[in-house]
Point group: C2
Chain length 477, copies 2
């Protein structure tokens, strides 16, 4: 049995002089005397004082950047500044050294691209460890928020025979022999002989299945991986990402907006309250990286300042029609600075959303009641017959953070919308039946988890907020 003390809680202990054993990775090794040790329990490090004469040369030589070391020693008051305690080493065990002539990481910082290619080591860097601790923080906050409010976590299927939703290009899942698949008499691939007896894909959303849950258990949420087989090479898209989709019975679009705003603020507050040191590290990192940029290319606020600003005030709430009107009366519109046209009936582009959020309202904005023609079939038709009870929440830097809607609960209206939008009724007979039998007004939304991690950590590339990113031509590890 191995016994060790974790560094984060140990730093809170008084310097009693007691003998403690700590284990971790060497973050820095100064003058063959001061070893800075971190064990991943938090961003904090513990200083170990190594008196060279107490140890053999091999041990001293094996201590180096990112070497894995165990130290037993005396917990005393720190002589230097910064930490309250340090350890005077009595025994040192080097579990695993790092030959710096071949170790891919170096004490100086590496590019994000390099770290992505060496993902077996990138969590050892201060930046990525902070990002993944905050990713954990956000994931836990998601589950805690919903648990404390009597929502039930629903695992919707990853492999789906449902191809009716049309939210994007899908990955096919199969066990058929790819070289010579079985064929039907007409010569097409015979999916009847595939593993599930039909063609199957990776899910693009758990929403339709979550509606089943909400219409039985009242309030549910999903939190799981979703997939898009789109050939996007941007800093905002992944082929595999995690999504959170709450769905609530007895709720309209107003209930939905209230829930989403409260939820997003809760997530941010959870990080501010519990992961301050990691946020401070990332805040400082951004300031350093922007030091040499022109003032107008820098972020208008520091990371923590922006997070605090986001939670303290109500989000702006406007209709799509009001948004179009505001943009058409804006300076950049009049000066023809927008690339894309703005007129009622076309979707808002990123440049318009950014203007609303970053220039006009200077805070998150909820836009509701979009034209039905570019929204999904399941969104509830408003009384004007032109718009649907949909809402998007727009954030600075990120753009669309949340997309949600009240769902069409009226069977006849839903059926007509499906026909208009060419969604086959047969495939969604069960979905229509949720309206035929015991239905009610209900609503929900989707939050792309990685977008939230980007917002909270300030990372600029979505591939740096998920441990093992999947993108076109990229599925290492």
């Amino acid at each position: 049995m191995i016994h060790r003390r974790e560094i984060r809680p140990l730093l809170q202990h008084p310097p009693t002089g007691e003998t403690v054993t700590v284990m971790g990775w060497v973050r820095a090794w100064r003058g063959n005397r001061f070893m800075v040790l971190g064990d991943g329990s938090g961003p904090e490090t513990l200083q170990i004082v190594v008196n060279g004469e107490d140890f053999d040369e091999d041990t001293i030589r094996a201590i180096g950047f990112h070497a894995c070391v165990g130290v037993t020693g005396e917990l005393v008051a720190s002589q230097g500044s910064g930490q309250s305690v340090e350890v005077i080493a009595k025994e040192i065990t080097v579990f695993g050294g790092t030959d710096l002539s071949t170790y891919p990481l170096q004490a100086k910082s590496q590019t994000m691209e390099f770290l992505r290619d060496n993902a077996q080591f990138r969590m050892r860097t201060n930046t990525m460890a902070a990002v993944f601790r905050l990713r954990h923080a956000l994931a836990f906050a998601v589950n805690k928020y919903f648990n404390d409010r009597n929502f039930y976590y629903l695992h919707t299927p990853i492999i789906t025979g449902n191809d009716a939703e049309g939210a994007g290009e899908m990955f096919r899942v199969t066990t058929l022999d790819p070289h010579d698949p079985p064929r039907t008499e007409e010569g097409t691939v015979d999916y009847g002989q595939d593993f599930f007896g039909k063609g199957t894909h990776l899910t693009v959303s758990g929403q339709l299945q979550a509606e089943i849950g909400a219409l039985a258990m009242g309030k549910v949420y999903t939190f799981g991986p979703t997939f898009r087989a789109e050939n996007s090479h941007t800093t905002r898209h992944l082929s595999e990402f995690w999504m959170i989709e709450p769905e609530i019975a007895f709720a309209d679009i107003d209930n939905d907006m209230d829930l989403a705003e409260d939820f997003l603020k809760y997530l941010i507050n959870h990080c501010l309250d519990n992961y301050r040191a990691d946020l401070e590290f990332l805040d400082e990192r951004i300031q350093q990286s922007e030091k040499n940029l022109k003032a107008d290319l820098r972020r208008p606020m520091g990371l923590i300042e922006m997070l605090e600003f986001t939670v303290k005030d109500d989000f702006a709430r406007i209709t799509y029609t009001e948004a179009i009107d505001l943009i058409q009366r804006s300076k950049p519109y009049k000066k023809k600075k927008f690339e894309f046209p703005v007129e009622w009936g076309t979707d808002l582009q990123a440049e318009h959303e950014r203007w609303l959020v970053e220039k006009h309202f200077k805070k998150p904005v909820i836009v509701r009641d979009y034209p039905k023609d570019f929204k999904a079939f399941y969104m509830r038709l408003n009384d004007d017959n032109k718009t649907v009870a949909a809402m998007d929440i727009l954030f600075p830097f990120i753009g669309e953070m949340v997309g949600g809607s009240q769902r069409e609960e009226r069977e006849d209206v839903l059926r007509q919308r499906m026909q208009e939008m060419d969604v086959h009724e047969d495939a969604l007979a069960w979905y229509l039946q949720l309206r035929t039998f015991g239905g009610c007004p209900h609503a929900g939304f989707g939050l792309g988890f990685e977008r939230m991690v980007m917002f909270v950590t300030g990372m600029g590339n979505i591939r740096d907020v998920i441990p093992f990113p999947r993108a076109p031509k990229s599925a290492d590890f």
Copy 2:
């Protein structure tokens, strides 16, 4: 905006006579006067007293089994037994009726098979709602246990280009044209032109990637879907299931066993402490269903009794060698009642595991130090050179609940084990590098989440503890 009170908390309120609005589904409708309403917030229901003369005939007629109804009325002390409060209806809104001549569910109970085929409605039944509330309870407990102990939640990849682990048959993920895929000059399918630039599959385990996390952040866990493309039609196997895999640095097999036992007990205690009413319902259900069975086919204990029994005592801990010895000295062995042979070097079969757990120790059993020949390449070789530091935790009814091991941290030993077991080094160069640079003793285990849900709910078929089961020839919804 819709305002309603949830039933579970409302039942704790004093009968103040205040006007409240509740919404839910009709569980029973007695004598056109007493409506039993549930909203999924818990297993509890609220009695609504409906004075027929206060409502029009259409409303009264629309109230029926599983109709979705909103009621505004006066919260008063209950006249009957069971509940403390009831509501005298003043207004009733029927959101969605259920025409009982066509509604698939009926007030009398249906078979589990029928409910599986009608999964759009099965969560509306008392049994399945209780199961899925407990599934939620266990999922939340998983996250809370690890969060409170400074583990970080790691999302390991679902789509993987890693095909080296060999834990089972895999599903292929592709976007190639299935009718006429691109071919290489040799005529084989050209995966270089596939979405990820190579052949990819759905993950069978996140363990190897979790080791990356542990060797940087100290303690991590995964909790996500995993897949097996095996043609199993049993009540214990799914093609898609959720798995929990903690991985800890600075840990040996003893730390690993302690963590697993403590974790399993925590999960069970969380349900006993917070979901008593659901457990009581399921306990009663099992007793009813076993009423007509012969005594020796019934469970030896009630559900809650068994859960309490599991958490109160230490698990038995024995080596594989001791297990073989115990079985060879057992009555059923001597009387040749076991179907499979028992000798050192062969794996334990379910019948042997059941004897150990249910007959001999009468509690969960941890078996450790299995022969290396039928265990995975990454398990740490013991000093005897014959066994590895692996452990399985065996539970009554379920069999193997947890499988774990200390990982081989010695690069030379690991490399030799890979060669012996025909695991290609090239594909796992990054895994070997975790040993070359900054490695240390580490360990972890895997818990099949659905097996735990089966144990806690007492359900006999794994397809009834996941909302949308995937199995050969079955991927509906």
